[in-house]
Amino acid sequence: MKLPIYMDNHATTPLDPRVLDAMLPYFKEKFGNAASRNHTFGFEAENAVETARKQIANLIGADHREIVFTSGATESDNLAVKGVAAMYREKGNHIITCVTEHKAILDSCKHLEKEGYKVTFLPVDDKGLISLEDLRNAITDKTILITIMTANNEVGVIQDVKAIGQIARERGVLFHTDAVQAAGKIPFNVNDMNVDLASLSAHKMYGPKGVGALYVRRRNPRVLLTPMIDGGGHERGMRSGTLNVPGIVGFGKAAQIAADELDKEIAEMFRLREKLRMTLERELDEIYINGDLEKRLPGNLNMSFAYVEGESLLMGINDVAVSSGSACTSASLEPSYVLKALGVGEDLAHTSIRFGIGRFNTDEEVDYVAKRVVDVVKRLRELSPLYEMAKEGIDLKSVQWAAAEQH
């Protein structure tokens, strides 16, 4: 076993060696521009891009002509939200999203609010799920877009996308989903789920960074978008710019592998995740799972370790790469807004760790990580005045905390 161990696969995934092999020729001899339609270098690149387009379409049950390549999922989210808003401005000015979305969606929506659009940010329950009733009630005759992510990047919670798509379809509203964490990890089919637009990212499915895609439905209904980037009219005019051919080839290969191995991988991620969860739950008291345990990505475990601050826990397991919802690990010094939206108290949000198990994690690694976490949590609890007070039977909520006004 090699240290450090990477178990932060929601942030990014390592490149699958098979993906790298597929990409390499397109960095070297096959360097053509896919838009060069008058020589073999161009044809070669274009063919490779079209193969990748089919591989990606196949992963999500789409037609290859419905895949628009982008620089990544942030661009895809921006294009979907702002592109739909601009295109359908005359039809309406209302967008529905939810509070636990990725910042690429939330900030795009906030940008539109400044331009006079109305945005409804649906709340989530303590499991991280939106209420379909809330969604139905939020739709007005001005609603042009519903954007709800399929699986959350922090807590791994999977929304009922099929039901949301059904509601959107019945009400004649376009439905976009950020499927970055879901595609290639769980079954995801744009037709079964009535999805009109979907954001995808290569580097979350063992492909390269810097390449993503937006699925844009062509029929029933045909979705139109105002482009964000103007230029040579690439990607059916929706996204100009010379295509990142090696990146796209890698994305295609990654999608093909994900599609071929999906069932096996779901079972394996789930097995390892449950092993980690059960070991931690057996060895430690007062640990809490954040978000719904059933409707959850198989590789995701987000847990709060009461009385142990997240950053200090990460420091203790410094040969393991995971992430924390603690304020101290974020640029904003605020604890995770996702956990907050689930109603996780700020005290417990500060103690949260996100484990993201991926394709290349092993049993041995899971055992090692579990043992390290257990040891460090026990050590830090011995150091924690909160643990001491709790053991003395003091209700921490009843304590009048001093100096809180400084923060």
Binding site: E309, G316, L383, W401
Partner: protein, 127 residues
Amino acid sequence: MAYSDKVIDHYNNPRNVGALPKEDEDVGTGLVGAPECGDVMKLQIKVNAETEVIEDAKFKTFGCGSAIASSSLATEWVKGKTVAEALAIKNTDIVKELSLPPVKIHCSVLAEDAIKAAISDWKKKHN
């Protein structure tokens, strides 16, 4: 975030972890911070009533590595000092000693507060 060697050393080998009997006449206890803020420090001192010298100090901290290091260092520094000398310890001294980055300055502020709170608790018992 990159930690200084001194922060890592205090995190791995925290000095003076533990508790003193808080009902004891000679013991002053300071509890500062709040769980919602991600930092809580408990610092205790045992003071010789005659000489006003801090003979022992213990701490427990819930917080990031810098918070643990700041309070660990604070216990090291107050030990052997008189109450008046301990009151003169400034958070900036802690920042300098541990090379804390700007985002972690609040950890040093909390440690200074903890020293002052412990001393004030001890003084209260002696009024």
